[in-house]
Amino acid sequence: MRNDPFRRRRAVLALLVGVALVLLTASFGSADSGPLHPVRTVVMTVLGPIEDGANAVFKPVRDLFGWFGSTIDAKGEAKRLKKERNELRRQIVDGRAALAANDRLRRLVGLSRRLGLADYGPVSATVIGRSPTVWFATVQIDHGSDDGVKVNQPVVDGDGLVGTVSAVTPGTAVVTLITDRESGVSARIIGPGDEGTVVAAGGDPGMLSMELVSPRSRVRVGEPVVTSGTTSGPLASLFPPNLPVAMVSAVDANQLRADGTIDLKPLADLNHLDTVVVLTRSAWRP
């Protein structure tokens, strides 16, 4: 048998398999008890420190693998967070835009209720373009003659008078703002009740002046100016009465005495118009 490698191999194999099966049968289901438990305990006691030492020795290797894993995870996480951040930014922008639109519409509805603008055939429109030069204070809106918009109809927003329609197409219209040099609005100062004409201020594109004010007027800074809404005669106003137009921003007594002019600041934020209302029915009814 000693010289027969095949027999020797079979014998060794059978022995090993037998031992394995015996061990398996003896220890299966009794890891914490049974005849082999003391042996296992001894082996664990001997190998425990070796295991600890090996753990300590290989810690840098594990850390290295861990670093790679963490880096890959971090890259994925960064990508996900960037996407999430962009989505949140978009939501914030949308939310702010919605809030601003809501605010504008609330003011518009408030003004409409306060002044009874429902009788003037209001047509809501969105500003879709603005004149790129400082020489022409005009904006373009997305409603035109198909919606009943006609030339010379007044345009307001939630803060007050914006301008008048100066040109129309079937789908769009051009609104000349009250700060345009061509614009003129008959108006009244609420406090003293003096009347005049609101025109664009010379040399300051965003400001207004009120001309033809009585030199003896006791107007004060901060007093509101509204449309006078003249409803009869050849100079009948295009605008309904009492539409807020501007606020007195400066009163120069010498200038007032010399040419009856005071400085105004428009109530409507003409540089940030978004939603406006065109009053499509005439203020003047014979």
């Binding site: 394995a20 061990l23 299966f28 289901g29 753990n55 594990r62």
Partner: protein, 195 residues
């Protein structure tokens, strides 16, 4: 086919290989996230020893290293020993009978060893009444184990072969001598005289 009796040095060398495999498995492989829970180099080492040293010594090595794993991993004794014994023996027999060339053949062999051990554990659990439930997670883990077996087979085999190569002759007596016999070539004494 005869296998030489291991010398003292070669025994120590094999002991070192087995111990290193167990230590690396416990301290690194089982604790590094990509491998943990699925990769197992112990059967791969048994397979490599079987490929290099032959079926008998592969089986003996597999039994010993498997028993060590059973002790260290605190599981029923003999389970790993039986499976790694079979892996070492099977790999050695394959080398003795087929003598595949190149190194890439260990890839399917590694996958096979991992699959055998994975399935073997399940079968033993069922046979010994431990109960084994087949779920998607188990299948995924098994597939990962086989994949890792295939991927780690080449580096493990290269390292093991390098260490144990000098512990004994090739199981097939690889080289010109055996091929000369197999193909009806010249006497084995002739290559020895070659200058």
């Amino acid at each position: 086919m005869s296998e030489s009796t291991p010398t003292g040095a070669s025994r120590w060398r094999l002991f070192g290989v087995g111990a290193a495999a167990l230590v690396i498995q416990i301290a690194v492989i089982s604790q590094v996230p990509p491998f943990s829970g699925s990769a197992d180099i112990v059967p791969l080492v048994a397979m490599s020893v079987g490929l290099v040293l032959g079926s008998l010594r592969g089986a003996m090595f597999g039994f010993c290293v498997g028993l060590g794993a059973d002790f260290l991993f605190v599981q029923p004794l003999g389970q790993y020993a039986l499976l790694d014994l079979a892996v070492g023996y099977g790999a050695g027999r394959l080398m003795e009978l087929r003598n595949p060339s190149g190194t890439l053949f260990v890839i399917p062999l590694g996958a096979g060893a991992a699959a055998f051990v994975t399935l073997g554990f399940g079968v033993l659990q069922v046979l010994l009444g431990g109960g084994a439930s087949l779920s998607l997670v188990v299948l995924r883990q098994s597939a990962l184990a086989i994949l890792w077996g295939a991927l780690l087979a080449v580096p493990v085999h290269s390292a093991v072969r390098r260490v144990v190569k000098r512990t004994g002759p090739s199981p097939t007596g690889r080289g010109t001598r055996r091929r000369g016999y197999a193909t009806g070539g010249l006497s084995p004494l002739i290559p020895g005289k070659k200058r």
